[in-house]
C-alpha cells in the first residue's frame, strides 16, 4: 500500500511580500515515482514555493492539490499530516535538544505507565539511532544538536524527514553543505523512495547533480514558471539559458600567479579534537584551497586562524611577525577576514537591514572618528549589491527577508568591503547560484591580482580545482597532502580526501 503513486499540483499559486512578488501564479504538477529538480537563480522563488507546500506560509491566492484533491495547509502540522515532509533550506533543529529528540520531535514514542502515557526514553534513543544507522550516519544521538557542524545538522534533518515515511518529500538544497560521499548516499535513498511512488522535489544549485539524480527539471525565474523539461532534453547549456538568459562563463585568468612574499605562515598549529600539527604558508595573492571530507576539521582550522576559537598550540606569522590570534578583532586589524559557513548563526544579524549588515565589518571605513556619514555608507552598500548582484527589493528591509543565496552573498560581501589582505572563505558558495558563483570567483581572482590572498574551504571539489593556485588535502584534522589543480583530476582529488589512513 505504500507504493501508491502520489501526485502534487499547484494552481495559480501566488505569494506577495510587501514590495516583492515572490511567486507569480505558478501552476505546476509533480508526479510520484520521479525526482523533480526545481531550479532557478537566487531569489527566483524556489523556497517560497517549498514553504507554501509545507504549510509554513500562506499563499496570497491559488491552491494546492494532493492526489487531485484541493488541500488547505494552514500550518506545518496540516502538511505533515498529509505526508508532505520538507527539509527546509534554513536549518531548523532545536539546538538545546538531543539529536534523538530532534529526529523524533513532535512524535516521541510513548508507553503507558500507571495509566498515563509517558515518553519512553529508551525507545527514543534506540529508534533515533536505528534511523540514523539505516542511513549510514554515525552520530551520537545523545549529543545536543547545537554541537553538530552544519553538514551534520543537515544530515540529521534529512534523516528526520526520511523517517516520517513521506508521500511527498521536498528537499530545499539538501546538499549545500554536503560533500560528495554524503551526497551519493542521499541519492541512493531518494531513488529508493521514488521507486515507492513518493513525490520527490529537489532543489539544488549544483547543476552537475541534475544529470545524476533528476528525472525532470522545473525552472523558476523571478517568481514565474519558465518551463518543465525532461532530463533527457536538459543540457546544462539549456538549463542555464532558462535560468539566467545569457550568462558570461568565466575562467581563471591564465597569467594569475601568486607573489613570492609569504603573507601568513602557520607552524605546528594544533587544537584538541579538531586538528593537529598544521603547517603551511600562504603567499600574497595566493588562492589556497583546502579539500577534505565532512568533519575533517577545516572549519575549526579557519576559525582558529581568525582568532574565533584560539588554537591550543603552534604559531602563526603574518609577514614574518608572530601573532597570537586571540580575537577576530585583532585579526581584522591585521587584514584577515573570515566568511563563516553558517550564515544564520555566525554571518548575519538577521533583524538588521541589508544595509547595516553589509557595512558591519567595515564600520571604520564608513566613519570618521566614530561618526557615520550616510553618503559613504551608501556608496559601500551600492557597490556590494552591484558587485555580487544581490537581489534585494529594499536595502532597509531586514536581511532575513532575503532569499538564502542572497543572504550568503551579503555574508561574503561584507568582508570584501574592508579591503582585506587575506580572506578565509568557509563554504562561500553554499546555496548561491551559478552566476553569482562566477562573480564571486572573479572577485577572488581580481583580489589575487592585487596581491590579496584567499584560503577557500569548499566541499565542492571541482570549485577548488577551478579557482585555486594550490590545494591542501585535510583528513581527520591533519594536512596529508598538497596538489596543484593542473596536476590532478576531480576523481583523484576525491580519492585523496577519502583515502584511509595507512
Amino acid at each position: 500500500m505504500d507504493s501508491a503513486v502520489h501526485r502534487l499540483e499547484t494552481v495559480s499559486l501566488r505569494k506577495e511580500y510587501p514590495g516583492t512578488l515572490a511567486l507569480d501564479d505558478v501552476s505546476v504538477s509533480f508526479t510520484g515515482g520521479k525526482i523533480h529538480a526545481l531550479i532557478g537563480k537566487n531569489g527566483a522563488g524556489k523556497s517560497t514555493l517549498v514553504k507554501l507546500l509545507a504549510g509554513a506560509i500562506q499563499p496570497t491566492r491559488g491552491s494546492i492539490l494532493v492526489n487531485g484533491e484541493e488541500v488547505r495547509l494552514r500550518s506545518p502540522r496540516d502538511a505533515l499530516r498529509r505526508g508532505i515532509i520538507t527539509v527546509h533550506q534554513e536549518l531548523s533543529l532545536v539546538p538545546e535538544l538531543s539529536v534523538a529528540e530532534n529526529v523524533l520531535l513532535g512524535r516521541l514514542p510513548r508507553k503507558p505507565w500507571l495509566g498515563v502515557s509517558i515518553i519512553d526514553w529508551r525507545t527514543v534513543f534506540d529508534r533515533a539511532k536505528d534511523i540514523l544507522t539505516n542511513l549510514g550516519i554515525d552520530i551520537d544521538v545523545r549529543l545536543k544538536a547545537g554541537r553538530l557542524g552544519v553538514a551534520q545538522q543537515q544530515v540529521v534533518e534529512i534523516a528526520k524527514a526520511m523517517s516520517y515515511n513521506p508521500s511527498v518529500l521536498i528537499l530545499d538544497e539538501p546538499t549545500s553543505a554536503l560533500a560528495q560521499h554524503e551526497t551519493e548516499r542521499l541519492f541512493e535513498l531518494l531513488r529508493t523512495l521514488a521507486a515507492r511512488g513518493v513525490v520527490l522535489l529537489y532543489i539544488t544549485h549544483r547543476l552537475q547533480e541534475l544529470q545524476r539524480i533528476a528525472d525532470t527539471v522545473t525552472v523558476l525565474r523571478n517568481g514565474s514558471l519558465v518551463g518543465v523539461v525532461d532530463i533527457a532534453e536538459a543540457s546544462t547549456a539549456r538549463i542555464v539559458q532558462m535560468m539566467f538568459g545569457e550568462i558570461l562563463q568565466r575562467t581563471k585568468p591564465a597569467g594569475l600567479v601568486a607573489r613570492e612574499e609569504p603573507f601568513m605562515e602557520v607552524r605546528k598549529l594544533s587544537k584538541r579534537n579538531a586538528f593537529r600539527n598544521i603547517h603551511f604558508t600562504v603567499r600574497r595573492g595566493e588562492i589556497l584551497g583546502i579539500a577534505g571530507l565532512l568533519g575533517s576539521g577545516r572549519t575549526e582550522l579557519l576559525r582558529a586562524l581568525f582568532g574565533a576559537d584560539p588554537p591550543d598550540e603552534g604559531e602563526i606569522l603574518i609577514e614574518g611577525t608572530a601573532v597570537r590570534p586571540s580575537s577576530p578583532m585583532e585579526m581584522k586589524r591585521l587584514g584577515v577576514a573570515l566568511t563563516p559557513e553558517n550564515r544564520k548563526e555566525q554571518g548575519l544579524v538577521l533583524p538588521l537591514s541589508t544595509r547595516l549588515n553589509v557595512c558591519l565589518s567595515s564600520l571604520d571605513r564608513i566613519t570618521t572618528g566614530g561618526f557615520l556619514t550616510r553618503a559613504r555608507e551608501r556608496a559601500v552598500v551600492e557597490k556590494s549589491i552591484r558587485d555580487l548582484d544581490i537581489a534585494v527589493a529594499n536595502a532597509e528591509a531586514p536581511v532575513a527577508s532575503l532569499s538564502g543565496g542572497n543572504q550568503q552573498k551579503v555574508v561574503v560581501g561584507k568582508w570584501l568591503n574592508i579591503e582585506p589582505r587575506l580572506v578565509l572563505f568557509d563554504e562561500p558558495t553554499r546555496g548561491i547560484d551559478l552566476q553569482a558563483k562566477q562573480q564571486m570567483f572573479q572577485i577572488i581572482w581580481d583580489m589575487s591580482a592585487r596581491g590579496i590572498g584567499s584560503i577557500v574551504v569548499s566541499s565542492e571539489l571541482e570549485e577548488l580545482l577551478d579557482v585555486c593556485h594550490r590545494i591542501l588535502i585535510m583528513r581527520q584534522g591533519e594536512i596529508v597532502g598538497e596538489v596543484r589543480p593542473s596536476d590532478i583530476s576531480l576523481d583523484q582529488l576525491f580519492a585523496a580526501c577519502m583515502e584511509e589512513q595507512a
Partner: protein, 326 residues
Amino acid sequence: MIASPKLRSLLSEGILEIILVLFCIFLSFSAPGFLTAGNLLNVLRNVSMQGVIAFGMTMVIISGEIDLSVGSAVAFAGCLTAFITQTLAGDTFGLPLHVAIPIAICATLTVGFFVGTFTGIMRTKFQVPSFITTLALMTGLSGAAELITNGFPLTPFPSWYNFIGGGYLFGIPFPALIFLLVFATLQFLMNYTSFGRSVYAVGGNAEAARLSGIDVNRVKRLVLGTTALLAALSGIMQSSEIMSGTATTAKGWELDIIAAVIIGGTSLMGGVGRIWGTMIGVVFLGVIMNGMTLLNVSEYWQHVVRGALILVAVLLNLLQKGKSQR
C-alpha cells in the same frame, strides 16, 4: 579517563546543590536553631507559596516567555476568593461557608487559568510580548484586587480555612505538601510527557518546533495558563495563611520568583532549564532569608548580603559549568 569526566560532570551538574549544602552547614554552626526539624519545615513552609509559582515560571521561561503578573495575581486571587466567599455567604445568597468556600476556590482557580490564557492569546494571536501583557496585568490585577476589597482586607473565612496555608498533615505543613506535589507534577510533566518536551522545543527554536508539527501557540497558552493557575493557587494558600484577602500582599514576588528560577540554571533565552534546579533556587533563597533572620542580620545588611549571595551562587555555578565544558 572514564571516572574523571563523570566526576567533573557531577560537580558541574551538582554545583548548586553543593553550594546550598555548604551554606546550610555554615548556618548549622553559626545560626542558633537553624538545624532543627521545626526550623527546616518552617523554611519549607515559607518558600511554598512562592515555590509553587516558581515551578510554573520555570516552564514559562523555558518556553521563551515571562510572567511579571504573578505577584499581583496572588494578591488578586486571595482577594477574589475572599470576595466570592463573602458574597456567597452573605445575606443575598446565604450559602453556608463549607459550600461557599469550595465554590470560591474553584472560581478563583478558573479565573487564574483564564488570565494566563489571556496572556497566551495576546502573545500568539497578536504578537504582544508576554512581558508587556503581564506588566499591564501586574498593575491591572493589583488595581482590581484593591477595587474588589475597597482597599481593606476581607475576612470572611472560618478558622478551619486556615488549614490550607497554616495546617499540618503528618507533621508537615500542609502548604509544604502542596509545594512538593506541584514540584513532582511539573517535574514529571517536563520530562516524561510530550507536552513538556514541546515546551523545550518551543523555547529552543520556535520555528523549528512549528515546522515539526508542534502547536506552538497551544503550548504557549497552556504554559502561561498553568502558571497563572498556580499563582491563583498560591494566592488561595496565602489568603488562608493570613486568613484574609489583602490587596497589598505579594508585591515584588515576580522578581524573587524569577531570581529563584534563574539561580536554578534556567536561561532567560528559553529552551534551557530544569524544574529540579528551580527547587534548589527556591530553597536557596528561602534558606538565605531564614538564616539572616536567625542570625539577626540587620535589615539593611540583609539587602546587601542577599544580593551578594545570589550573585556568588550564579557565578560559581557558571564558572564550574564553563570549566567542565572546556
